[in-house]
């Protein structure tokens, strides 16, 4: 026969052996408890402090099965044997026709963990005195075991998250491309840390949402076109004191966390993490962990934006905002390679402002700059996002049109020419009209190397110049056009 001391030892060693798996430890020990003390059913209910309820964690019966629905939790507030045991810290014995149970508090150093309930559920036999005294001793071992297991679980959770945080920090620091940074950070949140979904929204200088990206645990990335509903959330979030919060509402469980991304005291964006599918509540620890990540992100985002600005400055013409001559040649090489790889067309527009020197001489260089800016803006308004418009030199502008044949290029060129011609430029209370001459060339029909393309586009442009200006001409049909 097993003595109480042996059972105590076994319970204690089970808790140690299964410290990483509280459910297995509890199941084994509850079975041990009912076997050794001759009870019929034993259960551990753990306190959900936020909800103030006790939830059944493990139940063992002499039939060795999980009892019934297992859904039942009990209020920890008042009026039940559970709450009396938990709140008064005393053993409660219920002896009545319908119930023969003992409720033992599981309290460690003042910290309420839960309640151990043990009863003769099937026979309703009264609890014997010797059973009761042994139970009180056993419940103390349960308390220590559960406390250790929960602490271990919490610490392991923390270590895991900090390790991941370090990894995310290292990974996002390896790139300066904003898209890659966001993808890396969000993927880690769902894949490594197990959150259901993660979203990030970044603001521009006017506090409007500039970029957004979201991911769910399946790894599907998504960018929202319409962010109006999120804008409202943003407004209310940013109106607060800008601290990380849960969905701050009366009835919602902590399933959504909002983490502001601040950079040098400025509100830069918002990180939203949720467990809306799994319904695992987020904790204060999640908030502090995510805040550290948001801090890391803000630094990397800031660096990335700085890099973006520098990169843009190095490839942009400061007067017109169009790309510069060096960037034009880089992109032309890339686009020719791409067109060659995929068997696509590519057209090049060369545009020159007519009589620009006369204009400068008449109105001054200040107005010459205005003309250049106006032409650049009209060009930008009439081309696609994939087209590349560059200031080639002086008053000459080159436009690369990927995937466009000569007919398509002609349509775009005409649209630009007419747009410029019809624009009424107001100078010293006078209206001036500008015209442009445009030459076109198409890859691979007219040429296959970049220097040839540029030379032939120039030839076409000068053909127009010599035939009355204000026109468009393709290199292959210079003689036909005017």
């Amino acid at each position: 026969m097993t003595t109480n001391a042996e059972v105590l030892l076994k319970i204690s060693s089970n808790f140690q052996e299964f410290i990483g798996n509280i459910d297995d430890a509890l199941r084994l020990n509850l079975e041990l408890l009912i076997d050794s003390l001759e009870f019929e059913r034993a259960a551990v209910f753990l306190l959900d402090e936020k909800e103030q309820v006790l939830r059944p964690r493990q139940i063992a019966t002499i039939h060795g099965e999980i009892e019934g629905e297992g859904e039942n939790f009990v209020s920890a507030k008042k009026g039940t044997s559970f709450s009396e045991a938990l709140n008064k810290g005393k053993t409660v014995v219920c002896s009545r026709k319908s119930e023969q149970s003992v409720y033992l508090p599981l309290i460690f150093g003042g910290l309420k963990l839960g309640v151990l309930r043990i009863d003769n559920f099937f026979s309703r036999k009264p609890v014997r005195k010797e059973q009761l005294s042994s139970l009180k001793t056993f419940s103390k071992v349960f308390t220590v075991g559960i406390y250790n297991a929960l602490t271990h679980q919490y610490e392991k959770h923390q270590v895991d998250k900090l390790t991941t945080l370090t990894r995310i920090g290292t990974a996002i620091a390896t790139t300066l491309k904003l898209g890659e940074i966001l993808e890396l950070a969000l993927s880690s949140l769902v894949k490594d840390l197990g959150y259901d979904r993660a979203q990030v929204y970044l603001l521009d200088d006017t506090n409007r949402i500039r970029e957004n990206l979201s991911i769910d645990f399946r790894g599907y990335f998504r960018t929202l076109e319409d962010v109006s509903h999120i804008s409202q959330l943003f407004d209310s979030m940013l109106a607060t004191d800008n601290k990380p919060i849960f969905q701050a509402r009366k009835f919602s469980s902590n399933l959504i966390a909002y983490i502001p991304i601040n950079c040098k005291g400025r509100k830069t964006g918002l990180l939203i993490v949720d467990n809306l599918f799994s319904r695992q509540t987020l904790t204060a620890y999640d908030l502090s962990f995510l805040s550290i990540l948001a801090d890391q992100l803000s630094t990397v985002i800031e660096n990335s934006r700085l890099f973006e600005r520098v990169e843009k400055l190095s490839i942009t013409d400061s007067l017109t905002g169009l790309f510069n001559h060096r960037y034009f040649y880089e992109r032309l090489s890339e686009e020719i390679s791409r067109a060659s790889r995929f068997g696509n067309n590519l057209s090049l527009i060369m545009l020159d402002i007519d009589n620009f020197k006369n204009f400068n001489d008449t109105y001054g260089h200040q107005y010459g700059d205005t003309v250049l800016n106006t032409v650049a803006k009209i060009i930008q308004d009439n081309i696609r996002a994939i087209d590349v418009a560059s200031r080639y030199g002086g008053e000459e502008i080159a436009i690369i049109l990927p995937g466009t044949d000569i007919e398509g290029a002609k349509i775009i060129a005409d649209r630009i020419r007419i747009g410029i011609k019809e624009y009424a430029l107001r100078i010293n209370q006078q209206i001036a009209h500008i015209t442009v001459s445009i030459g076109l060339v198409c890859y691979p029909v007219d040429a296959t190397i970049k220097s040839e393309l540029v030379r032939k586009a120039d030839q076409a442009l000068y053909w127009v110049k010599h035939h009355g200006k204000d026109g468009v001409c393709a290199f292959s049909r210079c003689e036909d056009y005017k």
């Binding site: 099965e65 999980i66 297992g70 039940t80 999120i230 509402r249 469980s253 959504i256």
Partner: protein
């Protein structure tokens, strides 16, 4: 082993859960000797957590028992296989139930067994109060019956007309739904994009329920208890005249082979009637369990074979008889351990008046907000602090929080 599959299910047959499923799997084994099925029984309270963990890790069961309210999430996540091709348009599944297994125009699970809510009553209490149970057809007639019992209360010492738990258990929402639906309201808008708890009809249904408490027709003690405790007090201690429930008490309290059987004489003292009707008709919550094959299963063919076997007429008939539940197929006989009229009430609850919660990927989280909100609201009622304005105000807050969650969901 190549043909080994894992099956996760819940303890459907009470203390005989293992025997009942063992029986079916033994027959399956005879028909499919090369397929080995390993099953694990999960408690309902842990099942969702375990399943989500398995889905995230893409490792776990091949075939699973799921609650019908899970379909929206599992379908949205593509966590289970589509089963459209496995069911013909002339299938024998109960149409209402089959409809609950559909989401985004696809079928994600096959119905296994179902249950609907009904109203249990104590025959002796109603007789003493001069009430004919069959006359209780509307909410108003239930209220009138409750009033009669309240007036006769002195004669029955501590008896209350109605026992009702107001704790945060999913099942209370199933009963509140009856009031809402029968007044023409619902939890979400038809397109499921908005909450509709502030809609006039929904508010009216909720108010009706609140008034039952404020009019003292609901036992104050029962409001503090879990649904299990309320049932125990109703069947074992005769604490109330009425109680809403599904069919499980037939197995636990009214079945002579159960460990909790209350005895022949006591058992004959209970009857059932359909959930009363409201101005918009008669509706009761219908739910149950379905079977699905996980999309990460490495052995889909074997899992599909088990799924098909467990949903045959023969298997469903046997299993439902053993666990005392209603079959999900029209061609399977109903064999609840109850007399014919009682069985008919349960059958009608499924096929005539049955309705389910909105099928939505976030239903579980939405449900949690409503439950938290209702528990909060009813806390005042439990303390006899009846304030209909505060009640309406809380409904608006619940509504707003669901809206908020839907906007973060962004779909």
């Amino acid at each position: 082993m190549q043909n080994k599959i894992k099956f996760w299910l819940m303890p459907n047959g009470g203390f005989e859960s293992e025997q009942t499923i063992d029986h079916e799997l033994a027959i399956f084994k005879k028909l499919n000797p090369k397929i080995e099925v390993e099953y694990e029984m999960l408690s309902w309270s842990r099942a969702w957590f375990r399943l989500m963990q398995a889905i995230k890790e893409k490792s776990g069961p091949d075939i699973i028992q799921i609650g019908t309210t899970w379909i929206g999430t599992l379908g949205y996540l593509g966590a289970v296989h589509k089963l459209d091709k496995r069911v013909s348009s002339k299938s024998s599944f109960v149409p209402t139930f089959l409809g609950m297994c559909r989401f985004y125009n696809h079928l994600w699970a096959l119905p296994w067994f179902c249950e609907g809510r009904v109203l249990f009553y104590r025959k002796d209490y109603l007789q003493k109060a001069g009430i004919n149970a069959q006359d209780i057809t509307t909410w108003d007639s239930l209220k009138a019956a409750c009033s009669k019992i309240s007036k006769k209360r002195d004669g029955y010492s501590k008896i209350s007309p109605l026992g009702f738990s107001s704790q945060k258990e999913q099942v209370i929402l199933q009963d509140i739904a009856s009031w809402i639906w029968s007044h023409g309201g619902d939890f979400l808008s038809k397109d499921s994009k908005h909450a509709s708890l502030t809609q006039l009809e929904t508010r009216q249904g909720m108010r009706y329920f609140a008034q039952l408490i404020s009019d003292n027709h609901v036992s104050k003690e029962s409001l503090e208890q879990s649904t299990g405790e309320v049932a125990e007090n109703f069947f074992m201690h005769g604490a109330f005249a009425f109680m809403f429930s599904s069919s499980w008490p037939l197995q636990v309290y009214l079945n002579s082979s159960s460990k909790h059987y209350i005895g022949k004489q006591n058992a004959s003292n209970f009857g059932v009637i359909p959930i009363p009707a409201g101005p918009a008709g008669r509706f009761n919550f219908v739910g149950g369990s379905a079977l699905a094959v996980t999309s990460f299963s490495q052995n889909t063919d074997c899992a599909m074979k088990l799924l098909e076997f467990l949903t045959t007429k023969e298997s469903i008939s046997r299993y439902c008889k053993n666990i005392n539940m209603l079959p999900s197929r029209i061609d399977a006989p109903v064999s609840l351990s109850a007399d014919k009229p009682t069985q008919k009430v349960f059958q009608d609850a499924i096929s005539k008046f049955g309705r389910s919660f909105p099928i939505h990927p976030l239903w579980g989280s939405i449900e949690q907000i409503i439950l938290n909100g209702m528990a909060y609201t009813l806390r005042d009622y439990r303390q006899s602090n009846y304030n209909l304005n505060a009640f309406s105000h809380n409904l608006s807050d619940i509504n707003q929080e669901i809206e908020y969650m839907l906007s973060v969901f962004g779909e």
